[in-house]
Every structure is written in C-alpha cells, then in structure tokens.
C-alpha cells in the first residue's frame, strides 16, 4: 500500500513544486489526472479524510484508482454544493439530468468508495427511480447482471411472485 502511494506521488511532481498549494488536497483519478480541492471538500469524503488523518496531514496527495477523471468532477461539484448548503431539489434534478445510466452507476460506486453518505443516499434514490416499474430483463441489463438461474428455476420463481408483475412497464428500445 505504502509503495503504491509513493509511486503515485513521484509521478505527480506538479503538486509538490508549488509550496503555496500545501493547504489544498490533490485527488488523483484512476487515469492520473490531479484535481486540487479545498480541505473542506476532502472532509466530505470520509475515505479521503481518514487517509489524511492517518498520516497526520503530512500527505495531501490522495490516489483514487477506482474513480475516473470523468466522474470525479461530478463528485467534487456535489460536495461543493453540499458544503455551501445548496443541495436543493432543483439542483439535484439538474445534476441528475446530465447523467446517463452508466454514469449514475459509476458515481454510485464512487460515492460508496469515498463514503459520501449524502451523495450515496441521493444516488440510491436515483437508481431506484430508474429501475422502478421495469422488467426483470431491463434491470438485469441496467446492472449488467448475468442470469444464473436455469429456465425452470426462473419460471418457478416468476410463478410464485406473479403478484409482483402487475404494472410493469414494457421495455423501451432506447435504453441509456
């Protein structure tokens, strides 16, 4: 683990050369892009904050190998709004409008990984809304779940749970 961190830091000399940036935290995405954020933003991300605390604040460059540079700005944007106390229904509606299904899933995983409770709760609701009333096949495709039931097992289950199938929407052609 320690090696991994130091190797990441060597490759990121940019953040070390500027001493005035010591107050900011550098988040490094899985594809090696550095995002500088205020320490208050890092506080919103429990995983990052506990990392900083463990090293007594000496290390301010945090590698986040599971999060891509495409998704990290969304996470940062949400955290900024959250600190400013500006998470409104309108903001959330706008925020989620920009995201396709794949991005929602990626951000959900990122929020879980970074342990940002508010974002995780919000995205749980978004995912639930997107799979509500959808067929079993649709939800499998949505999550990328491989069906490991035999046709007989599945038919039996469907029969037992017949009451859950009323009101299911027909699948659309254009998903995502």
């Amino acid at each position: 683990m320690a090696e991994e961190v130091s190797s990441q830091m060597n490759s990121l000399s940019i953040s070390e050369t500027n001493p005035s940036s010591s107050a900011t935290i550098s988040l490094v995405s899985g594809d090696d892009i550095v995002f500088k954020v205020e320490p208050t933003i890092a506080k919103e991300m429990e995983t990052v904050q506990s990392f900083i605390d463990e090293t007594d604040g000496k290390i301010t460059t945090i590698p986040l190998p599971n999060i891509s540079s495409h998704d990290l700005p969304y996470v940062i944007e949400y955290c900024e709004k959250s600190i400013a106390g500006k998470i409104t229904k309108e903001f959330e509606a706008e925020f989620v409008k920009k995201l396709n299904n794949e991005e929602v899933k990626e951000l959900f995983l990122a929020a879980n990984y970074l342990n940002i409770k508010k974002l995780l709760d919000f995205l749980s609701q978004v995912i639930a809304d997107r799979i509500a009333n959808k067929s079993v096949e649709y939800v499998r495709r949505y999550f990328g779940i491989e069906n490991d039931f035999t046709p007989e097992e599945e038919a039996k289950l469907r029969e037992e749970l017949a009451w859950t199938f009323t009101g299911v929407d027909p699948d659309d052609e254009d998903e995502n």
Binding site: T47, F51, L109, I131, A132, R140, F143, I145, N147, T166
Partner: protein
C-alpha cells in the same frame, strides 16, 4: 484502505458485489413489487431484498387488486404475511396505505399477526385506510408494543388508550388522519410522549374542545371542522402553527412563543371567529412569519382584521397573503378604506407576498398601508395571473403603485405571473 476493485471480474456488474447495506439503500427506495421482483435477477439477488429495512405497501400496491373478481382481502393479506415471514433482519419503516377504492381493512387480527415481526426495531409506522369509518375500529393494543417509534401516522382508528399504556418515549412525530378521539384521550396519549415535537391532526370533526398539552411540541398542524375551542396554553414551546378551519368557531387560546403561523379559513366564518382580536397581541407577540390563506380582499372586515394582526405582531418579518377564490366580483363598486389611511405604526416587515386574482380598492389600500409603514421592507411580490386581471386593470394598479409612499427606500416591487 485503497483497495482496488477486481477489474478481472465481471466488468459491467459491480453493483451486485457491493455490501448488502449499500444495496439496501437502493432497495429501500423501491416500491414493494419492484423490491420483491429483484429476487428473480440472479441467485445473488435471490434474497437480497429480504434485508432492506423499509417495507411499504402503498396505494400503488393496493390499486392492482381492485380489478380482481374475488374479494382482494385474503390475497393481499397473504402476500403481506408471506413477505413478512421471508424477511430477514430488522424492519425500521413499515407502511400500509390502502387506496381509496380497495376494500381492505387493517384489522386488529391482521396487526396482531404482523406487528410482532417487527415491533422491536420499528421506528416509522404508517397505517392509512380512508375507506373504513373510524368509529368502527378501536386502536389495537398491539401497536403500543412498538416502543422505538419516532414517527407514527395512522387513520381510521378510534384513539383509545389501554389502561397499561406506558407511552412512546421516543416518538417525535404523530399524524392522525380522520381519527376520532376525545380531547382527554389525546391529552392522555401525549402525556406518554415526552419528546413529541410535531403533531398533525387532519380532518377532525366536531367536539367542543381540543386541548394540546404537550410541552415539548414545536410544530402543530390542525384541520378542524366545527371545533369550538383550541387550547394551546400548555404547549409552551410551540413555535410553528398551521390551522385550517372549516366552519365552526375556533377560539384559540394561544401560547406566546409562536414564530410561524399559517391560517386557512375555509368556512363562512370571519377571521374574528377563529382568533378573537382581543387575543391577538398575546398570541402573536413573537410572530415572525404569517400566512393567511383564503383572505377575502373584497371584504373590508378581512382587511381590517389583517391590519389588527399586523399591529399585534411587532416582530413580524414575512407576510404571505392569498386571496380567496370565493366572492370575486370585479364589477362591485370599489371603495377606499379610510381606516387604512390613518394608522401610523412601525412594522418590521421585510418580505411580503400577495397572491391575488382580482384587484379591489381594498387591495390598493392595504398595499399602500404596508408600503407606508414598513421601513425595513426588502421585497413586495405580487403573484397573479395577467389573463385574470387584464391589461387595463394591471396598468391602473401599476400606476397606483408608483404613486404610493414608501417608508423603505430599498423596497423592490415584483410581479410574478402564475
């Protein structure tokens, strides 16, 4: 700490491998059908839903049984029982909301069967059934075994309290919808809820007195028909009060700490019947927010009452007035109200919102009064439909506005089209 995901595993399906409490977050936001249907996704998902801590049988669930030829009661009842039997782990939130046209009775027998599955961990409980007349059902004793409740909403039970009632020590929020009760039963109930902060009583008919005696209460919402007296004196910490009154004279004996007050007068009675002018200054001395719904801007009595309220509420900052839909008659000859021209009082108002449908001279007089007496006013906003009012009337009204004296040099006047 920075564990990498195993990228070799199924690239697409990274959700299924998340810990169950994370997936529960998604499942908990699904309706019951969608929730249970996830058990067909894959073997990993087979029993995943059984640990979600929220279980909600809502109107949507009940609606699909309306078209059944047979009586839906046994079918629905069996599904709920089966779901509860297969459940695994604590249930924190449970709700049953029967849709209006589904004949289903949330009976004592059923609750006696279901509640023991969850009573130890239940914090939120909602039991709503608007088709059963409340006087037929006594509140089942089993409900009093849910000691951990922080939120409790129910309808259609007659509020009756067992002799060994020990209260709900953690209850913060109580909603009663179409519930029959004596004021003394409610007092008794509330005395067992030492931390109750919010009480909402919807559609309560009749009864002469209603005493709200909970000292911990902060927010109160009442919808009353024909109730004559509401006594809030013992609710010493009440700060937010919403009253919707249908007919009936409701004298409010108020508590002095109310900061927010919303009043809707749906009946034919005047505001004076609901809160007597003599009681205004005692009730409203701390008031910061006031909303009057259904105010008749064509009625001099209503307007003068509002002025008395403003005089009695020296700390009022936000005022919202909504014109009633009744008695709109633009052909009426318009009067200026002399009473509104004279008084000079100091108001602390900062924002005033006026929702109106048709202009009347009283509106103009009222606005003139507010503008002339509110030196701290920041915004005055009119919400109106331009179609309703018509261009000539709008122009006249705007002209009047331009001439009005303003005590606050920075007051902005806005129009919002609705």
């Amino acid at each position: 700490m920075m564990t990498l995901f195993n990228k070799k595993a199924n690239q697409n399906d990274r959700i299924s491998d998340l810990p169950s409490n994370v997936i529960d977050g998604i499942l908990g936001n699904l309706r019951i059908r969608d929730q249970v249907r996830t058990s067909i996704l894959s073997k990993k998902w087979r029993y995943m839903w059984t640990s979600a801590s929220q279980l909600c049988f809502d109107e949507h669930f009940f609606e699909s049984f309306i078209l059944l030829d047979d009586d839906p009661e046994p079918v629905v009842s069996k599904i709920i029982t089966d779901v509860l039997m297969i459940r695994n782990g604590p249930i924190h939130k449970f709700s049953i909301c029967v849709s209006a046209d589904c004949e289903f009775d949330i009976s004592t027998e059923k609750l006696n069967m279901w509640i023991p599955f969850m009573s130890r961990n239940l914090t939120h409980l909602k039991l709503l059934n608007y088709c059963t007349p409340p006087d037929e059902n006594h509140m089942p004793d089993i409900l009093f075994s849910c000691k951990e409740l922080t939120y409790f909403k129910f309808s259609s039970f007659n509020l009756s309290i067992p002799p060994n009632f020990r209260g709900f020590e953690k209850l913060l929020e109580l909603h009663l919808e179409c519930v029959e009760f004596d004021s003394s039963a409610l007092e008794n109930f509330m005395s067992g809820c030492p931390v109750l902060e919010k009480l909402n009583i919807g559609f309560r008919l009749g009864s002469n007195r209603l005493v709200i005696s909970s000292p911990s209460l902060k927010v109160l919402v009442l919808e009353l028909h024909n109730t004559k007296l509401v006594c809030l004196r013992k609710a010493k910490n009440l700060s937010d009060f919403t009253l919707k009154a249908f007919h009936g004279r409701g004298y409010i004996r108020s508590s002095p700490k109310i900061k927010r007050f919303s009043l809707t007068n749906w009946g034919k009675n005047s505001y004076e019947d609901i809160i007597h002018p003599m009681l205004l200054s005692r009730s409203f001395s701390s008031l910061e927010y006031l909303k009057l719904d259904d105010l008749n801007l064509n009625d001099k009595g209503d307007i003068l009452y509002l002025v008395r309220v403003l005089e009695s509420a020296p700390s009022l900052i936000d005022l919202v007035i909504k014109q009633s839909y009744k008695d709109i008659d633009t052909t009426k000859e318009l009067y200026r109200s002399k009473e509104l021209e004279c008084p000079r009082i100091l108001l602390q108002l900062q924002t005033v919102d006026v929702h109106f449908r048709a202009n009347s001279q009283y509106t103009t007089s009222l606005i003139r009064f507010i503008l002339a007496n509110s030196p701290l006013l920041k915004t005055l906003t009119f919400y109106c439909s331009y179609n309703d009012l018509g261009a000539p009337m709008m122009l006249n009204f705007s002209k009047d506005l331009l001439w009005m004296e303003r005590a606050s040099p920075k007051a902005q006047v806005n129009f919002r089209h609705v």
